[in-house]
């Protein structure tokens, strides 16, 4: 048993590989040989993990991935515990349906990061692709718990059909929070168009510029008490540079989507001079 398991890519990947076998809670029960024989998938062809990665360590729920991993997809799928540190960037479907544990990425993540996740946390130092924290294709719900913190921007439809949890990012693309059932999206910079379309009870916090859709109605300008709690928690747990002006600031509250039940909201921060 070792403190951690380090998987280092032997050579740059030339094909996309499906690596949903790589999750700390699964590796924690395996010795180095067993880890090496786990199967990754190149299309329909199985590849032994040991043929792709050098494996150092065994029987640990702390896993480190090293190398150019942008073509490695599905890492951390259904993960329920442990820590997964990824040096560099990672492919799509990171932490899909994860239930616990913590994933950190020093680079960027591809599409569907944290899609349908139910618990745990994903911290991405760079950017994330489309549908971060959103729903899997055809699914009725996006993330139902946990936290996703992306210090860079995220792509389209971030938090789509989200049910619970927190998604924080520096900017977001078109369709942010589309079909939100509930949950929280906090964007520190610009938000793309069509934000919160079809939102039922979700909260979208705009600390930067936002074009509030016509299906939202202005309610008031006030200090949302839960938001200071949430921002302070994110600052403490993820070391985010949360500004006190945001923690204690005033926000315009827009209720919507009024084409739905109208219990959702967009909270737009108001700079005071």
């Amino acid at each position: 048993m070792s403190d951690r398991i380090t998987l280092t890519l032997r050579a740059p990947l030339t094909h996309p590989l499906d690596a949903d076998a790589i999750a700390p809670d699964r590796l924690a029960a395996l010795d180095a040989h067993e880890i090496s024989t786990l199967r990754l998938w190149d299309g329909r062809n199985a590849v032994a993990l040991g043929d792709v990665f050098t494996v150092i360590g065994d029987r640990s729920s702390n896993v480190q991935l090293e190398g150019d991993l942008a073509r490695l997809h599905g890492v951390g799928t259904l993960m329920s515990a442990g820590t997964l540190e990824i040096s560099g960037s990672i492919g799509h479907s990171l932490g899909v349906r994860m239930r616990g544990g913590a994933i950190s990425v020093s680079g960027s993540a591809g599409d569907d990061a944290g899609a349908a996740m139910a618990g745990g946390s994903i911290a991405v130092a760079g950017n994330a692709g489309d549908r971060a924290g959103g729903a899997l294709q055809g699914a009725s719900k996006g993330m139902t718990g946990g936290e996703i913190v992306v210090r860079g921007g995220v792509g389209r439809e971030a938090g789509a059909r989200m049910r619970r949890g927190i998604l924080y990012c520096a900017s977001s693309g078109v369709g942010t929070g589309i079909g939100m059932i509930a949950g929280n999206i906090i964007v520190s910079g610009a938000i793309g168009d069509s934000v919160g379309a079809g939102n039922k009870r979700g909260t979208i916090v705009a600390l930067g510029p936002v074009r509030v859709p016509r299906a939202y109605a202005y309610a008031c300008t006030y200090r949302p008490p839960h938001l200071s709690l949430m921002l302070l928690s994110l600052r403490a747990r993820f070391g985010l540079p949360v500004d006190d002006a945001h923690v204690h600031g005033l926000f315009k509250r827009y209720s919507g989507d009024l084409a739905e039940i109208g219990k959702g909201e967009i909270l737009e921060w108001q700079a005071t001079h």
Binding site: G145, H226, S228, M230, L232, S233
Partner: protein, 309 residues
């Protein structure tokens, strides 16, 4: 034992198990947190008639509160588990929910026994309320005329200790009050302890039941009433003309013992004859605070009877 010429009697304070919560009230500033906390803890001196005992524990700087605003922590105790949520809900509902700018949080997050407080209060929102999960805790957002009131769904429940006490026997009423005030000042802000009586001081200590009125559950402690010294079985020594009592409730034995240690030490001053404590012979309350042991530095619970963990 004597401290600065004041005798410490060889006796003990007898205390009981209680159930308690720590309520954190935050507000725009300390003034409004205190306004709310003062109302919440009003008329909560003794379970004899107030159904609960509550007081401000200490002021909290923004760095110690969940939402980064100034706050006050309050401890509230009842004699049993069943009545605790009722007392907390009615008091928060009338004194924190109603107070401008406040929010209300659990101050015992690590206590596994939980009672629903925000959950029943949420119905004030009449269906317009919403909830948020933050760090694994649910908070309720209640729309109110001012804006929004935030309250945590559940609060931790502690097995506390109620009825720690000591009596200051002094040469005059002024000397007794000066000593009691010094004791309260010394105990102010000590964690895990409250002094539920006005200014932390009791002038009308009671005995169980009454000699004349059978329906009374408590009546004047005639043994310590100086005016009755000549006509009752008195415990007031020669030269003592006034007695004041300090009553302490706390989250655990040690918190109370440490506070008693600080309070008694501060009370040992000119004009004070002796320090004693109230008990029932040790037959009723499982927690015994032996004055001389405490003043010798031993603040551990030696009784080990139903000691809260």
């Amino acid at each position: 034992m004597e401290i600065r010429g004041v005798q410490i009697d060889d006796t003990f304070a007898e205390a009981f198990g209680m159930r308690g919560v720590r309520i954190i009230i935050t507000a725009k500033n300390q003034k409004w947190a205190r306004e709310s906390a003062s109302k919440l803890t009003g008329f909560a001196t003794s379970v004899i008639a107030c159904k609960c005992e509550a007081a401000i524990e200490r002021e909290l700087p923004p760095s110690e509160t969940p939402d980064g605003r100034p706050g006050i922590s309050v401890l509230l105790f009842t004699m049993d588990s069943d009545s605790l949520p009722k007392r907390v809900i009615e008091r928060i509902g009338q004194t924190v929910l109603t107070c401008p700018t406040t929010a209300c949080f659990d101050g015992l997050p690590d206590f596994p026994d939980r009672i629903a407080i925000g959950k029943p209060l949420r119905t004030f929102g009449d269906g317009f309320q919403g909830s948020k999960m933050i760090d694994g805790q649910r908070y309720w957002r209640l729309p109110v005329m001012e804006g929004e009131f935030l309250i945590q769904e559940t609060f931790g429940k502690a097995k506390g200790v109620g009825g720690g006490n000591f009596l200051i026997l002094a040469e005059s009423a002024d000397a007794a009050l000066d000593a009691a005030e010094a004791a309260v000042d010394a105990m102010a802000g000590m964690p895990g302890v409250i002094l539920p009586f006005p200014g932390g001081i009791v002038r009308s200590g009671s005995k169980v039941g009454a000699k004349r009125y059978k329906t009374m559950i408590a009546s004047t402690n005639d043994a310590f009433a100086p005016t009755l010294r000549a006509i009752t079985k008195t415990e007031v020594p020669d030269g003592v003309n006034s007695v004041l009592e300090i009553v302490l409730d706390g989250l655990d034995f040690r918190s109370i013992a440490r506070a008693m240690q600080a309070g008694i030490d501060a009370a040992c001053r000119a004009g004070v004859h002796s320090i004693t404590a109230g008990n029932y012979g040790g037959k009723l309350g499982p927690f015994h605070f032996h004055l001389r042991k405490i003043m010798s530095g031993d603040v551990e619970d030696a009784t080990k009877v139903d000691a809260p963990k």
